[in-house]
């Protein structure tokens, strides 16, 4: 349906006009003209995904796993094949290693509560990078406080790269785990996760990878990364809200305690003792979001048809345009590495224009960007700012969108500090 073969003149862009037709919001009367550049927060959804959700409810809806009737079997089949598909998409060796959660944040908290908490103690260290999103940071901060373990930060250098020497250095202390984002939601930096994993393994530490910004935008292979845990969210990759994923090494899941307790995650319940279900259901308590999983599977199919490589290329082409255009504006400072070392987003500030004012100003011109700390306050401190503006791209954004952004920033400068 989506023309992936036709490349545009520049040879790197996707056929945006065709793609936009697949997304109902871009033909809604209210938002037809919207330049939506907040994709790192959440993406829009194609009609196909909405149809998959509604279709599930209209002809397959029942609770899963325990129903001895055909409708429940159908629902269970859809749920479990969504798991297989989503798992394969990120190179999970087996669906046993794929746990559905409500979002990436829950997936990361699951790792914290179920695996890390029982293993932490004074003298042990958790390493996080200075560029983590709060979701891959605050859980570790709290665990450190609760257990007496140490929380230490791996430095981010001035160019927005992870300081691997600092990591090597810090790994000399006994370390339970390293928490690292594969792609920063502020700097855009694509971290060398496989290398981080190598160093961590040598030091006997496990690695938790936050894939919230990478899985939607670049091909990710869990096996190749070699990490212990990988978390991501459906809503940042064209899927519905309310569904996230944790992929993990089987061994880690086996040795972890359960996290949420209740229906479906048990094998047997006696008055004072219970035993747990097999993987991955041991970690899925209560009625799961079957429709969410089905919707996410459809989103993955959509992404696969377009092709992750091509999406990454498209993102990068737009990022280059934005980077170059913004860099030329007097007083604009861009945070993070050059465009070819990042995913499709650019965070920046404008001298004399507060990011919040910029966002409001652009909003009035129909351009949606984000302003704030982007749930990465420590990184803001590291960068010496309180907030930045951020534009983030996806497969339905065009060079015109980038142009509108650049013109908007210029006009804002003129308006606020002429």
């Amino acid at each position: 349906m989506i023309q992936t073969a036709t490349k545009d003149a520049s040879g790197r862009l996707l056929p945006v006009d065709t793609i936009r037709k697949a997304f109902p919001i871009f033909s809604s009367p209210e938002w037809r003209e919207l330049v939506y550049l907040d994709n790192a927060a959440t993406t829009q959804r194609p009609q196909r995904v909405l149809d998959a959700i509604a279709g599930y409810y209209a002809d397959s809806n029942a609770n899963v796993h325990r129903g001895a009737y055909a409708l429940s079997e159908k629902s269970t089949g859809l749920y479990e094949s969504a798991r297989e598909l989503v798992g394969r998409f990120v190179g999970a060796p087996s669906p046993r290693q794929v746990v559905f959660t409500k979002n990436a944040t829950e997936a990361l908290n699951l790792v914290a509560y179920a695996w890390a908490l029982p293993r932490l103690q004074p003298g042990l260290q958790i390493l996080v990078t200075q560029m983590e999103h709060h979701s891959n940071l605050v859980p570790w901060q709290v665990l450190a406080q609760r257990t007496g373990a140490t929380l230490a930060y791996v430095r981010v250098d001035d160019s927005g790269h992870l300081d691997l020497d600092d990591l090597r250095q810090k790994l000399r202390k006994p370390t339970l785990l390293v928490a690292v984002t594969q792609a920063s939601n502020v700097l855009g930096t694509l971290n060398p996760v496989a290398r981080v994993v190598e160093l961590a393994k040598e030091a006997g530490a496990a690695v938790v990878v936050d894939g919230a910004q990478s899985v939607p935008h670049v091909p990710v292979d869990f096996g190749e990364l070699g990490c212990d845990f990988l978390a991501f969210s459906g809503h940042k990759m064209l899927g519905p809200m309310g569904i996230g994923v944790l992929v993990a090494k089987e061994e880690r899941l086996e040795e972890a305690e359960p996290f949420l307790y209740g229906g479906d995650m048990i094998a047997t319940v006696d008055w004072h003792q219970s035993t747990w279900n097999e993987l991955p259901w041991k970690f899925e308590a209560g009625t799961p979001n079957v429709a969410g999983a089905v919707g996410l599977a459809e989103a993955v199919r959509f992404l696969q048809e377009v092709g992750l490589e091509r999406i990454a290329e498209h993102d990068r082409a737009l990022t280059e345009l934005a980077y170059d255009g913004l860099a030329q504006i007097d007083g604009v400072r861009i945070f993070g590495p050059p465009p070819d070392e990042r995913v499709g987003l650019v965070a920046f500030d404008v001298d004399g224009v507060h990011p919040h004012d910029l966002a409001t100003f652009l909003d009035a011109r129909g351009i949606a960007i984000r302003a704030g700390h982007h749930c990465a306050e420590p990184l803001m401190k590291r960068l010496g700012v309180v907030a930045t503006a951020r534009a983030s791209f996806y497969l339905y954004n065009s060079p015109d969108d980038v142009e509108a952004l650049i013109e908007g920033v210029k006009a804002a400068k003129e308006f606020f500090s002429p």
Partner: protein, 150 residues
Amino acid sequence: MSLEALYQEILLDHYRRPRNFGVLKDADVHEHGVNPLCGDEIEISLKVENGRVADVRFQGKGCSISKASASMMTEAVRGKSLEEIREFVDEMEKVLKGEKEGDPEQLGDLEALKGVSKFPVRIKCALLAWKVLEQGLERAGGGTGEKETT
């Protein structure tokens, strides 16, 4: 809602040339506040005499709205009693939330903040200085006129 209605000339003027910017050396109250949403920070220093604001300064980083609001506030509260200020803050909150029209005469320059009510996420920016002021007054002993330095 147009940009011009939000960013009125007078607001931009307070933003670019904030009034009473700085710190009072011999202040009775120093109060600091943050808007976690956008990282805006503000510090207010206040001299209280006979239960009335004798002098006031503010400093901090912030967007145009929080800065202009702080600047206008420093002009509006001078000479007011703590009780009056409390009422005024309540009033401002209602005006900013669009729950009330407000009295143009009483508002003065602050009238220019009314456009904020159409931009829900920006209301907190406009309220920041006022919240910090209220907090400082409470810490200073509330309406009792008692003082306390922090």
